[in-house]
Symmetry: C2
Amino acid sequence: MASSAAAAAQAATPLLKDELDIVIPTIRNLDFLEMWRPFFQPYHLIIVQDGDPKKTIRVPEGFDYELYNRDDINRILGPRASCISFKDSACRCFGYMVSKKKYIYTIDDDCFVAKDPSGKDINALEQHIKNLLSPSTPYFFNTLYDPYRDGADFVRGYPFSLREGAPTAVSHGLWLNVPDYDAPTQLVKPLERNSRYVDAVMTIPKGTLFPMCGMNLAFDRDLIGPAMYFGLMGDGQPIGRYDDMWAGWCTKVITDHLGLGVKTGLPYIWHSKASNPFVNLKKEYNGIFWQEELIPFFQSASLPKEADTVQKCYLELAKQVRAKLGKVDGYFNKLADSMVTWIEAWDQLNPPKGAVATANGTAKSK
Amino acid sequence: MASSAAAAAQAATPLLKDELDIVIPTIRNLDFLEMWRPFFQPYHLIIVQDGDPKKTIRVPEGFDYELYNRDDINRILGPRASCISFKDSACRCFGYMVSKKKYIYTIDDDCFVAKDPSGKDINALEQHIKNLLSPSTPYFFNTLYDPYRDGADFVRGYPFSLREGAPTAVSHGLWLNVPDYDAPTQLVKPLERNSRYVDAVMTIPKGTLFPMCGMNLAFDRDLIGPAMYFGLMGDGQPIGRYDDMWAGWCTKVITDHLGLGVKTGLPYIWHSKASNPFVNLKKEYNGIFWQEELIPFFQSASLPKEADTVQKCYLELAKQVRAKLGKVDGYFNKLADSMVTWIEAWDQLNPPKGAVATANGTAKSK
């Protein structure tokens, strides 16, 4: 089982060329792509330009891409564009929505190719694809980590009935060099760098929440796409830097409910520069307080049996956000509204198969 | 917080010399200790001799040890000796009971010193002590693994209220070379060897069960000792090779209930030889079936608030084993009885502080 799954993952790797989009939010020229050329050039890029739409973003020659700026987002989504953050990399989730592929890989434009301990360039995308194509093990912990990797398996005492695993919806990759710390930790440890290469992929167990970082993240859009909403951050909002966290908590509650798996660990990328901790503190300030209420909320959130699609789960969660977090701060009522708008916009751009596109539907222009 | 905890762990390492016993179950001469001499010689050993008590076990010169054979166990525990397995390494738990130290490290006699990727001998005991002396993080997953290690911390999105962690009760180490596989996997993959050194320690999240292997295991006897019963295996019993698993499932339910942590990962030992898969299959046969009922049982086990000591938790669990697993097989009624006997024997050898030893109490002879 384990070895055949691993073999299938390897054999399938080149096939995903036409099934995966790379989503990059940015405000600058994408020179960082030069370093990724050997790995990314075969794939299609969706660039979500943040900030001033009049600015021109330079994309290195030879890449196949589509680019959306704020004007495009407003035009395509109309009033529903309100759910897409502005002046915050949370805008990347527009790229998830506009994609028509089964898989998404998203990466920040300050992330470069890392090296493994042997000095070899790490093909992050290939590892993500392997992670997504082999099952997860959310119901029981395997002490030798991912049992589907070459040279590993389920250890003694792992129940045989659980060895088929669960479909993997999310592959969360990590960062060498600048670790993804919050502002207080950045302030306290300005020089800390991550140099520990941990050669492992593992499943986050069912019922356990984790801090999902959007810097180096892949997911199966068909399985979990509509839950990957990065919330309302940035311009006009009282919070930033919790976009990916919000998406991660919603996603984990929904994958747990739907019997899907979330993996973390390999691959590493090289995160080049720490963002300004003072600016970050301003963005995070409210989140640091609110989070103390959010975590118990998500830990105890429970979805009804009838919620059997990601959309239904997400709308139910929006309802619970309004009912239980609205009293923490009025922001969460606005966020709950946006969660509903997000699903409407998702369905607008991704009508159920067989449905006829309506006047304001499938407005995507390439 | 993280860095001061790490510093405390390092400073305290040599101090544990008088606070830790190494427990070794064996049927043979302990020549394997030669390789461990630089690391084990400062510590006291408790050797639990399995099988024929007339056989003499040779212990290399210079080690400080006490040795118990079956005659000793029978003499010390009287009729309660029935709870200690015979002709099975599960007998090791007698050593946990007879120890008077705060910490236990237990290791199999076919386990040798492993090397880290730089070629340096791994001081397994030192790593276990570091694991035990720094907190665990059972309530939320940290994607950069143990946040208390040097060079690591809590990542963005990790709730600040949870950064104190929980006291660590168990440190579960791993194995290079021969992995701890069950008989079916051994039969299918006779040549598989574990050569992947994963440089990580992590907490098993609350609510998640794992397969605890007794080959390379350390724990805080004061925090969790009475839960470390390795069950009834071997001679006269319908099952073997589930001793550590049983202890692990009971322990995890109890640590979760009491707010304690369980870590797994580093350190590695070098596991030299695979046991015979045909013999193993005979031992595991019943367990493979029963386990499918045991896991749901432990996953749904819940302990009442009044169970505020390990002993009370364990006796409650024994009651639930009888009520719910007795119908799986009569063996579990016997096991439930033994769980109660084990606690009686534990309290006999470890009377509550301040209690006066009774006629049949504190009968330990050294």
